[in-house]
């Protein structure tokens, strides 16, 4: 036996290599092509999903696993990239919340503040309570101006827009906060407050909905709070100038309104069909104002006193943003998804026929009592009295993470799943709730943003993307 083996060593090694490598290929291919997704129905009947198709994918730089829930059946498809995959654009993949991506062009929105007072009052620097290595210096000014910045870019173009608004802060003692290292000898006497943190008293509402897009034009408003005075409006950006040039850009005010006559909280701006919808709180009432996109004429004012907006606050872990929402437009339907302070969400669905009407107001998305999750809306769809909602649910699983005091940060490890809800729009009853679970559990290890940014590609980590809800075409 031994002598036979000795005289056929080549054959033995060859077989060992072939069996090991071939077996590994086969088992791994099988493992990867086996769907990593499964649908877990929590409540309701899965038949409710049969008329709809839900799609999304779990992808990184190397591969993408697409799931398709069609006629209530879940399937998946694997794509592996050896050269640059379709998801290698950082900007498209990770747009900031205050941005929109249209036709591969990315538009961002930001505001900065400027001291307009000739004699601002500078306080002595004091150690920062959060980080003793830093000093905090405050400046008191009785006149603060606000500048809007918007940037567009894609792989080929880059443009910048700067707009000095007619909005000023009317709070009696607005405070700007400067931070500097304790070793730094910088002298903060500049009156340009750009790049420095504005104190909480001067914060704007979330700028997530400040930009909207209609027929190759970008429209924006300024998400002011009742602490601001002056003139706000809806503005159209007609052209972006070259980056870093001083040429004035063309910005047309479509409509303007005074911030001083009413108690106004500007939430955002949406476009649906050929109308612009301004979302605001006017004298403590949730209000939608519908404007003609071309003329800027006010067509309708829809007041909704039944909307309880007091908890429309998004807690990002670092700061709180008022009125953070995500919007979805399909045809004549506008669905708004407001994130609540406790991590849940409210849903508002509107239809625009001749007039804008509220279809449904779901005060709080159905979540189990023990679910401590962060929700992100992925898509919503309104069809024949049913509201379909697709959400990403992130759950902190960092060791020591306490459900009673969730502390979200980029360094927090998390696991994700996709939730599907179906609501009866008339009664706001949850007819169906289910989760699409995946094998992402091995992904949240080492989700340390410092390492992802400096040492390796963030695309090494899978993320859910490219979601959509569609109607299944009837034969």
């Amino acid at each position: 036996m031994m002598s036979y083996m000795k005289s056929h060593l080549a054959l033995i090694i060859f077989l060992f290599i072939i069996l090991l490598w071939g077996g590994s290929f086969l088992s791994l291919s099988f493992g990867l092509h086996t769907t990593p997704f499964n649908l877990e129905t929590v409540t309701g009947d899965v038949k409710l999903l049969e008329d709809m198709s839900f799609e999304g994918c779990l992808s990184d730089l190397y591969h993408e696993q697409k799931f398709i829930l069609d006629k209530g059946k879940l399937s998946s498809k694997l794509d592996y990239y050896e050269t640059n995959g379709p998801n290698d654009s950082f900007l498209v993949k990770y747009p900031f919340s205050s941005s929109i991506v249209k036709e591969d062009i990315y538009y961002s929105y930001d505001c900065s503040f400027k001291n307009l007072s000739e004699d601002p009052e500078y306080k002595e620097p004091i150690p920062d309570s959060y980080n003793p290595n830093f000093l905090k210096q405050s400046i008191f000014s009785d006149e603060i101006g606000l500048t809007v910045h918007s940037i567009l870019r894609n792989d080929e173009c880059w443009g910048d827009m700067e707009f000095t608004s007619l909005v000023t802060l009317k709070a009696s003692s607005p405070i700007f906060e400067f931070y500097q290292s304790i070793d730094s000898q910088s002298d903060y006497t500049s009156d340009n407050l750009y790049d420095h943190r504005v104190a909480e008293s001067a914060q704007l509402n979330s700028s997530c909905g400040a930009l909207t897009y209609f027929e190759d034009k970008i429209y924006f408003t300024i998400p002011t709070t009742p602490d601001y005075s002056g003139t706000n409006g809806i503005y159209r950006i007609d052209q972006y100038e070259e980056f870093m040039t001083s040429t004035p850009q063309k910005i047309t005010p479509l409509t303007t309104f005074s911030l001083d006559n009413h108690n106004l909280d500007i939430i955002g701006l949406e476009s649906i069909e050929d109308k612009l919808v301004l979302l605001l709180i006017e004298d403590d009432i949730f209000t939608l104002k519908i404007f003609n996109t071309l003329s800027g004429e006010l067509i309708q004012t829809l007041t909704l006193p039944e909307i309880d907006y007091s908890s429309f606050i998004y807690n990002s872990g670092y700061s709180k943003e008022r009125f953070y929402y995500e919007s979805f437009v399909d045809g004549e339907h506008l669905n708004l998804f407001f994130v609540l302070e406790d991590g849940s969400a409210s849903l508002l669905s509107f239809t625009l026929h001749d007039e804008m009407t509220l279809n449904t107001y779901i005060k709080k998305l159905d979540l189990a009592a023990n679910e401590s999750l962060r929700l992100t809306a992925l898509d919503t769809y309104y069809k024949e009295g049913l509201l379909f909602v697709l959400c990403n649910l992130s759950e902190g699983v960092y060791p020591g993470f306490s459900e009673s005091s969730p502390s979200w940060s980029p360094a927090t490890s998390y696991k994700e799943k996709v939730g599907i809800w179906v609501y009866d729009a008339r009664t706001t009853t949850c007819l169906y709730k289910g989760y699409i679970q995946s094998d992402m559990s091995s992904d949240y290890r080492h989700m340390d943003y410092r390492k992802t940014s400096s040492k390796k590609s963030p695309f090494s980590y899978r993320s859910y993307e490219s979601f959509s809800i569609k109607e299944v075409p009837t034969p």
Binding site: F16, G31, E82, P399
Partner: protein, 260 residues
């Protein structure tokens, strides 16, 4: 063909056991490194691909790989030492080409065996790691249990460019790996033959060119961005053209000398 098979077996008799021992030694060392890294880490848990790509793992692999090259060198030069078996080989009723290909194939099998044992090591460690993570004492201290890791090896292999060198997932990676394998084995044998011809200048040049191309391959495949198609093609053309050149020139060299 039978003579070639016999000669390959004859060469492998001297290479098989040392390669097996070297591969087994590497498996054991790698297991201990993984174990101590996970046990003593202040991080919560490594992902498998991060564990495999740690500098200590790479260092031990490089040392053992150099050991394998030393084994091949010992095998080649042992024909010239002691019993001077090279003369026996040259008097066999076989062509010089058969002698060359017997050496080449046996070296390929040796390298293939070594790399297969690395794959085996990866599979064993991923199984152990999944078990360890699932049953770790640290998990029991958490308020909510960590979900069981699934598909760990497959995801590690798909996401780790360094592990693609061991088990490629696409045709381009596969061809590139095969090219690296060919250039490694043919290059080593070519270097030995050049040294026997006392062409030290060629030796140095071959060494530099081979190392440069291998380094280029590693750079494009391990870089932040994925390699573009043009990079892949350039890389493949270099690898295969050079391997072919090494084989052709080696055959010419072996024909010219009296003793291999």
């Amino acid at each position: 063909m039978k003579k070639l098979y016999y000669l390959v077996n004859h060469e492998l008799k001297n290479l098989f056991i040392p390669t097996l021992l070297l591969g087994s030694f590497l498996i054991v060392i790698e297991y201990f490194i993984s174990y101590f890294m996970v046990k003593t880490s202040y991080e919560d848990f490594f992902r498998l691909e991060e564990l495999m790509a740690s500098p200590l793992h790479i260092l031990t692999f490089v040392i053992c790989f150099l050991g394998l090259l030393a084994l091949l060198a010992y095998n080649f030069y042992s024909n010239y030492k002691g019993s001077h078996s090279i003369y026996t080989l040259l008097t066999l009723p076989i062509s010089r080409y058969t002698l060359y290909f017997a050496k080449l194939i046996s070296y390929m099998f040796t390298l293939g065996l070594f790399l297969s044992m690395q794959l085996l090591s990866l599979i064993l460690r991923s199984t152990w790691y999944t078990y360890f993570i699932t049953h770790s004492y640290r998990l029991n201290m958490l308020e909510s249990p960590w979900p069981i890791m699934e598909n760990v090896l497959a995801l590690a292999l798909i996401r780790s460019p360094s592990l693609h060198f061991l088990l490629p997932f696409g045709m381009l990676s596969f061809l590139s790996n095969l090219g690296l394998f060919f250039i490694g084995v043919t290059g080593v044998l070519y270097l030995f033959l050049l040294e026997r011809h006392q062409k030290y200048g060629y030796c140095l040049m071959t060494f530099i060119i081979t190392i440069s191309i291998v380094t280029y391959t590693f750079i494009i495949r391990l870089s932040y961005d994925m390699p573009s198609m043009s990079h892949w093609l350039i890389n493949l053309i270099f690898l295969y053209t050079l391997s072919l050149y090494y084989i052709c020139h080696s055959m010419k060299l072996i024909r010219q000398i009296d003793t291999l």
